[in-house]
């Protein structure tokens, strides 16, 4: 399509849903025909508002969905800090605050919602806040520095979130709720009371059933109102809350309104679009408004007249509109409002008809006031079907119960067992039908999960990777695991976690066995714990375990037989039997002299050179017998092994950082060199890669690495579990704003924990997924040190760092090790005739033979070209052993 025929989509609002619309539009191909312009009112690109409270721990950058501020697709333009103030539907234009006009073919409203502030006198005082944006939280944090006590008006989901934030900021916190209970929308009275007890145990005070009549200013304010403020608006700061029918006011220093949200529909209203009765742009099932070229998604939209204040329905709407603009027929027909979350450390879940509004329904409750657990099931009149329920304090049964409601399967004989404490959430043999939706975030049914197993998934983690079940909110993970295990059992399959036929244990178990017994050789280990003589699976695994624990040379005589292809010769075997050689270039920093040496070596030995993805230089086509001479040249020039051949640290990629870059905020090169030098040579279950970016633009692509570090103004954010490769994964934030010392200590622990407990060939991303609790578990072990392993893991890493030596140097200095580096044991002077090369683009390329080259068949490779064609024939009259000795 030629440029002038391209259409334009204007998106108003860059929150979570606006961002989702853009990514959906890019993924679905809408940008092939449409340019997209997004206007965001906030000063920064979309961020994770659901995780807003974690802003205090991790900072704004960690929450950002688009830290660079730019979409990779050049056909999308994002303009933050820009408000749209008017829509002219007849002209199909929008007007910006500065008067600029922009035409659209299609307009998508994603303006979200605004916090509802009830019309209470004093609401405009100082130190009164709402809880919606990062700027709101920054202001709250600032006020909390001097405030001793504070109140949150609103005891719903958002209110408790805000109360949690105040509490964590060290403010004595009151929760004020008009309704007679907390979380009035989701839970019933008894559930609300259980929740209240939990929260009060933490030291917060809960006031339910009270109406705030007015907000009193401090004494300074009263003076200023009289003397200075001509508008009549109260000045000064909040000092107390006055409740209706309560004598004593509640003294406070700060106040947060979190009493619900209202759709931001003012633009639509002014443009004459139809609105829903209770606010929000009225849209049809395709999220199209009363104007066919105007769409609305997320909290500003009211499909069928109903507004949805959760992000998942907003995401669904965004997908539906992207689909509709491409001519698709997808519809939004409502959302499952079931919720499971942890509020102030308490599990709370509600699903289906939580309040028992169905005619003649029955309720079944279990309550343990001591343990703080409350569970309620709402059951159909005839007692055969589950309609909904509430869980407080223990929501483990949610994963089973929610799909039971959705699928309508018959209740078991004794439904109380579903909520009695001995129930583990497994539901004692309840078989959900294949169509039962297990993961509501990603719409995955039991049938989908079992089909994934049929298609080769071998674990719950595999299933999560392949179907996304459990990958969003995680509330169904236990259920997914159980379905996978039950399915295996039903098929008579057991999940075999044995390393191979020789060791009936996992790599992690073997690691512990070796550590406990202090074994030094494979022979000791297989005699005591294995059968047979090992294989290409267990031998390299044992080699890696021994290397991690002993820090010895991988080519030490007793263990070199264990080494895999590449480790066995400290170089990477290539397809024609030659090797490639990669010297370490920490952080990608190299001097001109170093470059010249690499160039000279490559020229001298006739090697093909290529820059790798890890910011270093790979030299290909080395014959095995030439390796020691190549290393000697490199070692003499100050290089060492880059371990490109090992299941070990490869590189720590870096951008140029604050030293040169005008955007950089930290010295990323310096840190990358330090980390690469620290962890070089560390043998691990799989290769390891790191990255360090000097600012949030992330030029080092650190979040694509096993560990990625991104500079912030205050220090470093540490991300783990990233992966390029066949199954790409973005690294997740482990901890934010770390000092260099904290960073190194967490990384030491993380890497050692991985080295000790991962399966063979398990990258960090799948390892994290396989842990019960996933990334949270890693954080518990690494950051919170719940296992008390921190010191031990750091000591193990310190031993590695202290014991490091260059394997190449140690090899060329040891004649015994060098003996193996010959082409033929009885003809070391004759290069292997099977290794030959052609030429492409001025460099050598490997040639692969169809059958063994043999003496007397000279001419078989007459058609060779290129600079290096060794051994195309071998003279008849071979040296015998006697002659060569």
């Amino acid at each position: 399509m030629s440029p002038h025929l391209r259409k334009k989509v204007v998106v108003v609002g860059h929150g979570m849903v606006g961002h989702r619309f853009v990514t959906a539009a890019i993924e679905r191909g809408l940008t092939e025909t449409h340019d997209i312009v997004v206007f965001g009112e906030e000063p920064r690109p979309a961020y994770d508002r659901v995780a807003l409270t974690s802003f205090f721990e991790v900072g704004a950058e960690a929450l950002s969905f688009l830290p660079s501020g730019v979409y990779e697709d050049p056909r999308v333009t994002l303009r933050t800090g820009t408000s749209v103030i008017e829509i002219d539907r007849a002209a199909q234009t929008v007007m910006l605050a500065d008067g600029e006009e922009m035409a659209y073919d299609e307009l998508v409203l994603a303006t979200g919602a605004a916090p509802f502030v009830p019309p209470v006198p004093g609401a405009e005082l100082g130190n009164v806040f709402v809880y919606r944006t990062i700027e709101d939280l920054e202001a709250i944090r600032e006020a909390a520095k001097t405030a001793k006590s504070g109140a949150v008006i609103g005891g719903g989901l958002l209110g408790l979130e805000a109360a949690n934030a105040l509490h964590q900021l060290g403010v004595k916190t009151h929760v004020v709720e008009l309704a007679p209970r907390l979380m009035a929308v989701q839970v019933d009275d008894a559930g609300g009371n259980t929740l209240k007890r939990h929260i009060e145990k933490l030291g917060l005070t809960v006031h339910t059933g009270v109406m705030t009549e007015s907000i009193a200013p401090d004494s300074v304010a009263e003076i200023s109102v009289v003397d200075e403020d001509e508008s009549g608006v109260l000045d000064g700061k909040v000092s107390a809350l006055k409740f209706k029918d309560v004598e004593e006011p509640l003294p406070i220093d700060m106040l947060v309104f979190s009493a619900g949200i209202r759709p931001r529909d003012a633009l639509a209203r002014a443009a004459g679009l139809d609105l829903a009765e209770r606010g929000g742009v009225l849209v049809d099932e395709q999220c199209r408004s009363s104007d066919p070229h105007v769409w609305a998604v997320g909290e500003c939209a009211a499909p069928g007249g109903r507004m949805y204040g959760l992000v998942a329905p907003g995401y669904d709407m965004a997908e539906v509109v992207a689909d509709a603009l491409l001519g698709g027929a997808g519809t939004f027909t409502g959302a499952d409002m079931s919720t499971k979350l942890k509020l102030l450390g308490v599990d709370v879940a509600s699903f289906g008809d939580a309040h028992g509004t169905t005619d003649e329904c029955l309720e079944l409750t279990y309550s343990d006031a001591v343990a703080g657990v409350y569970k309620k099931l709402v059951i159909s009149e005839d007692g055969t079907r589950l309609l909904g329920g509430v869980l407080v304090g223990d929501a483990s049964a949610y994963g089973l119960l929610r799909p039971m409601v959705a699928s309508g399967i018959p209740l078991p004989e004794n439904p109380e067992e579903l909520i009695l404490p001995q129930s583990t959430g497994g539901g004692g043999g309840i078989q959900l039908p294949p169509e039962a939706q297990i993961c509501s975030c990603n719409n995955v049914t039991r049938g989908d999960i079992e089909a994934a197993v049929d298609n080769g998934c071998e674990s719950a983690a595999d299933v999560t990777k392949s179907t996304k079940a459990g990958s969003t909110c995680g509330s169904c993970k236990v259920q997914v695991k159980k379905i996978v295990e039950d399915y295996f059992t039903a098929q008579g399959k057991t999940v075999d976690t044995s390393l191979c036929e020789h060791f009936k244990m996992t790599r992690a178990e073997l690691f512990d066995v070796v550590l406990i017994h202090g074994y030094k050789t494979f022979d000791q280990i297989i005699e005591a714990h294995g059968t047979g003589r090992g294989c290409d699976l267990c031998k390299p695994a044992v080699a890696s375990i021994l290397a991690s624990q002993l820090n010895g040379h991988v080519l030490a005589k007793e263990n070199r037989k264990l080494q895999d292809t590449n480790d066995a010769y400290l170089a990477n075997l290539q397809k024609n039997g030659s090797y490639s050689v990669v010297p370490r270039i920490p952080g990608g920093e190299i001097t001109p002299e170093g470059l010249i040496v690499i160039g000279e070596v490559a020229k001298e030995f006739g090697l093909y050179t290529k820059i790798t993805g890890g910011q270093r230089i790979d030299m290909f086509g080395a014959r095995m017998e030439d390796l020691p001479a190549i290393w000697k040249r490199l070692v003499d020039a100050g290089f060492e092994s880059g371990h490109a051949y090992g299941k070990s640290l490869r590189t720590v990629k870096s951008c140029v950082g604050s030293t040169w870059c005008r955007y950089g905020v930290q010295d990323s090169v310096g840190l990358a060199i330090m980390l690469e030098t620290r962890y070089r040579g560390l043998r691990s279950p799989h290769k390891l890669k790191g990255g360090v970016s000097g600012c949030a633009r992330e030029c080092a692509e650190a979040r694509g690495k096993d560990f990625g570090v991104i500079a912030t103004e205050k220090g470093w954010n540490l991300y783990v579990g990233g992966n390029g490769g066949a199954i790409p994964a973005h690294a997740q934030l482990l901890a934010g704003d770390l000092s260099t010392e904290e960073l190194v200590s967490y990384l030491d622990r993380f890497l050692m924990y991985y080295v000790r407990t991962a399966d063979r060939l398990q990258r960090t991303s799948t390892w994290i997924d396989s842990l019960d609790g996933g990334l949270d578990r890693v954080r518990e072990v690494v950051v919170d040190d719940v296992l008390g392993l921190g010191t031990e893991l750091e000591a193990a890493m310190a031993a590695h760092v202290d014991g490091y030596f260059d394997e190449w140097k140690a090899t060329i200095e040891d004649p015994e090790k060098l003996k193996r580096f010959v082409s033929f044991v009885n003809a070391p002077d004759i290069p292997d005739p099977n290794i030959s090369f052609g030429s492409t683009r001025g460099q050598i390329v490997p040639e692969v033979g169809e059958e063994p080259a043999a003496v007397g068949r000279s001419g078989a490779r007459d058609n060779q070209t290129g600079p290096v064609s060794l051994g195309s024939s071998i003279p008849i009259g071979l040296p015998t052993l006697e002659e060569t000795r």
């Binding site: 294989c535 075997l573 033979g849 059958e851 015998t880 052993l881």
Partner: protein, 116 residues
């Protein structure tokens, strides 16, 4: 040294047994052919063509040696196909095999004979 297809071929000494670490292989040049000679943990020796029929490269001597059940084998260092040291047969696909050679140890010296 004689070399014909029909007459018995003499054994050629290639190295000392001690030159091969137990459970490893080495490459030797025998009548112009690259031969992989392996030594198992019980000091038996085996000789296979060094050429990996899957990867089309002369590399088998560099593979990891182990056992599958009772069968000693070498895994190609290229793509890990297992070849029986006794028969040269690929243990995952009996239709593929590599040539084997007569081999023995006399007075501590490893000698490779005719291709079987």
């Amino acid at each position: 040294m004689t070399e014909t297809q029909t007459q018995p071929v003499t054994y050629i000494a290639v190295c000392r047994l001690d030159d091969i670490d137990p459970e490893t292989g080495i490459a030797a040049l025998v009548r112009g052919e690259a031969v992989a000679v392996f030594r198992t943990v019980d000091d038996r020796v085996f000789a296979l063509s060094n050429f990996d029929p899957y990867g089309h490269a002369s590399v088998l001597a560099r593979g990891i040696v182990g056992t599958r059940g009772e069968v000693p084998f070498v895994a190609s260092p290229l793509l890990k196909q297992p070849f029986s040291l006794e028969t040269g047969e690929c243990l995952d696909d009996p239709s593929v095999s590599v040539a084997t050679y007569e081999v023995d140890v006399v007075d501590g010296e490893v000698r490779v004979g005719a291709r079987r």
